[in-house]
């Protein structure tokens, strides 16, 4: 009986090329018509140390990286020991029989030894062990070899014919070795169904970069930091040909400083960083808030505090994003839950920054920026960026009191409109002022914009039962896992639902209150990838109800199974 989807994990020390192999497999699967979803984790070291690439593929839609793998490919004994106990019962281990010997396996475990090294040596390219494994993998669950070859050719096209040829040959040897064994295919995945047009295969960081491009971003400054650097790399490819500037600065303070300067001078500006860099940016976020400068900041969260675990995911910067820095500096905080969100929320961030003249923070994380999946092609007609309200001769002062809190903004070079943007408290003309009434009025003006912005924000999305007994409120990258966890609970017979929040500050308190006060609701769970339950506390501070915290702080995302198990546990506890 064909399975709806399959989870494959490639595990090796870094430098073995499992990422490349996994991505070629992903492209081949998409070419066949399946949906895919990737997750990878690796140590901070460039070479050596355990790393794995997980790919889930099957019928559209695939919303998470899934749970325990059906197939694990291991390149060495360390990887076998680290991953084999994660294998789904009845699953398949494909291993390099040249470097691993004497595996007994466990009951129900299928073992398939393939001589990765000697087959790679046979084509005179010892580094092609990953391609041998890829060929073996394709044979194991029925990906046609020609589809795979196309993927390999595309991937190595710029390395010349020799490299392409050797990689293709290595994958063929792996493929035939498994086919000749007579047992393959070990799995059959449901046919993909009718072809869905207009889907693209894209990662989170690419979607963020493309969103910035679509929003008219023409200035980007950053400092390299894992896992945000690929955003800079992608933008340095796409912005300059259209006239945009991409600048690598000397630290995160200067990166955000340059972005603030560019925006003040009229550019649509963005910076991107992760934990430690985000901490360094706090003073400048306050400046942008105080001087009312439009700015988009991406924080690809990673495990903290301090250097933490640079290559592992976490959702622990929520408090910092909303409250970080001294004084009270209003800023908008958004969080993408899907790869489509990565695009549309970035577009939205620019629209909000320009309209409300304040910093807008996009709280992504390691898991979502590195995730690759298929999404419907992004639609141009959904993109609208309001021009910032510009001052004209005769306009009131730069920081004029208005009902909305938004004041007309001159841009340097505008004749006769000069002003001083300033981090000092100031009056309507921008002149420094320590007048008690001015500070109160100006603080209120700046927060008024935040209140106004709520109407423009993306409301929470809801999944599952309409009369839920168990409610789940989540935020950010966990959306797919929660949605699938809710599905599992529904199939089990638990009336579960979820509300996924995309705009964290300001937050849709009214909608949250309405969700919490559904008469059917018996328990409210907030799953988060942090230790203290930051969203749960934030909700409690706003609505006075303490949700059940379900936290995980292991550097790894939730699996749907974990969400389901917790839902089931709470449900059964309630019935006792």
């Amino acid at each position: 009986m064909p399975t709806r989807d399959i989870v494959i994990r490639l595990a090796a020390g870094t430098g073995e090329g499992i990422q490349v192999a996994g991505e070629i497999l992903a492209v081949s699967a998409v070419r066949i018509g399946w949906d895919i979803f990737t997750f990878r984790t690796y140590p901070a070291e460039i070479r050596g140390g355990p790393s794995y690439f997980q790919l889930r593929l099957g019928r559209i839609p695939i919303l998470s990286q899934g749970g325990d793998p059906d197939i694990i490919v291991v390149f060495d004994e360390d990887s076998y020991r680290a991953h084999s106990h994660h294998l789904k019962p009845g699953g398949l281990i494909i291993y390099d029989s040249d470097s691993i010997s004497g595996i007994k396996g466990m009951p129900g475990m299928k073992l398939l030894g393939v001589p990765f090294s000697s087959l790679a040596n046979k084509v005179g390219f010892p580094r092609a062990r990953n391609m041998v494994a890829l060929g073996a993998l394709a044979a194991a669950f029925g990906i046609p070899i020609d589809k795979l070859e196309l993927g390999i050719k595309e991937r190595f096209a710029d390395r010349g014919e020799d490299v392409v040829g050797k990689n293709v040959a290595a994958s063929r040897l792996g493929f035939s070795f498994v086919m000749e064994g007579g047992e393959a295919p070990f799995y059959s995945v449901s046919p993909p169904g009718p072809k869905v047009e207009d889907r693209i295969l894209i990662t989170g960081y690419q979607a963020i970069a493309l969103g910035a491009y679509a929003a008219g971003c023409n200035f980007f400054a950053a400092y390299p930091i894992t896992p945000a650097t690929p955003i800079m790399e992608e933008l340095s490819r796409i912005l300059p040909p259209s006239g945009g500037v991409v600048l690598q600065m000397e630290d995160e303070i200067s990166a955000i400083g340059a972005a603030i300067g560019a925006s003040y001078a009229g550019a649509r500006a963005m910076t991107a960083t992760s934990g430690p860099g985000f901490s360094l940016m706090m003073e400048m976020i306050g400046l942008a808030s105080m001087a009312e400068i439009p700015l988009v900041i991406v924080d690809a969260q990673r495990a903290g505090p301090s250097t933490g675990m640079p290559t592992k995911t976490e959702q622990s910067d929520l408090n910092t994003a909303i409250y970080g820095g001294h004084g009270e500096a209003p800023r908008i905080v958004l969080a993408p839950g899907t790869i489509a969100d990565c695009f549309y929320i970035t577009v939205k961030a620019f629209a909000l920054a320009e309209k409300y003249q304040m910093p807008v923070i996009i709280l992504a994380d390691m898991a979502i920026v590195q995730r690759m999946t298929t999404v419907p092609a992004f639609r141009e007609e959904r993109i609208q960026i309001p021009e910032r309200i510009r001052a004209r001769p005769g306009s009131p002062g730069r920081y004029a009191m208005t009902d909305s809190g938004i004041s007309p903004m001159p841009i340097p070079g505008d004749k006769g409109l000069s002003y001083v943007a300033t981090g000092l408290e100031h009056d309507e003309r921008g002149h420094p002022s320590y007048d008690p009434a001015v500070h109160e009025a100006m603080t209120s003006k700046r927060f008024r914009k935040l209140r106004m912005a709520l109407d423009d924000l993306i409301p929470p999305v809801r999944y599952g039962a309409l009369d839920p007994e168990i409610g789940i409120i989540g935020w950010g990258s966990t959306e797919g896992a929660i949605r699938e966890g809710v599905e599992m609970a529904l199939n089990y017979g638990i009336k579960a639902s979820s509300l996924h929040i995309k705009s964290l500050n300001p937050i849709h308190i009214h909608e949250i209150r309405r969700y919490i006060s559904q008469p059917s609701l018996k328990a409210l769970i907030v799953p988060e990838l942090n230790f203290t339950g930051q969203l749960a506390d934030f909700i409690e501070s706003k609505v006075g109800i303490a949700p059940i915290k379900f936290t995980k702080v292991q550097g790894l995302p939730f699996s749907p199974q974990e969400i389901f198990e917790e839902t089931k546990r709470i449900y059964e506890e309630m019935r006792l």
């Binding site: 295969l201 493309l210 200067s254 400083g257 001078a265 992004f378 141009e380």
Partner: protein
Amino acid sequence: MKGPERMRSDLEPIWCHGCGNYGILRAFCKALDSLGLDPYEVVVVSGIGCSGRFPGFLKTYGFHVVHGRVLPVATGIKLANPSLTVVGVSGDGDAFAIGGNHIIHAARRNVDITYLVFDNSTYAQTRGQASPTSDEERFPRHALPYGLIEMPFNPIAVAIAYDVSFVARGFSGDPEFLSDLIAEAIKHKGFSLIDIISPCITFNNTWDMVRRRAERIGPEYDPTDRVKAFEFATARTDKIYMGIFYVNERPTLEKKLKMAVRRMEPPPSLKEMMKGFEVS
């Protein structure tokens, strides 16, 4: 309004009577005027300290940023709109202590920014602590209890070592000469730094000492030789030399950016950009 006065706003400076910064303000307005600039074409970015208020006294555009971050913000402004004249203004603490790292990278980039350091060798706004350029002779009143035990920083020598493409020293007590230096620095295409000795009348009154020792660099001096410039900047002397120490004409970052990238006209649509992500 005609003349340098057209650069001044109607705000009266908040500096102490006798502060060196008045001379800088006068010299700066005169320099802008002599270059035929209009106030709206100029942006002055300032940091924290007594110099931070400088843009408020001008009719130009201004941005009073946080402590030490004048150069990153100025870099963003200039790259976003290269037609603007961008001037940075810092004190010696803002420029050489908290913001010191940014000078290295402004020098590497060579963005066309003029950086004026109002150097009074003390933290005047916090009431007279020792600053990076405090030395035994220019010693703040409210120094540390055990005196000054750190070596002073030599901004000119360090700027030459960083290969800042225009390095000069001015004195607020000689605003005519300073005005010419500022005009030269603005005309220079690239990152220029002028360390302006600007005595603090309240916490570190060095007026008499600087007046006694100040001397203009003679016309025979060649500022294009980096090694000689470094020797000159580090030579033991009783004089405080004013003038251009070092000039290295080289392409600006904005020019290099323009040359490095072939612009696509019109820029590709989102639809075209997405082609790279299709799997056919």
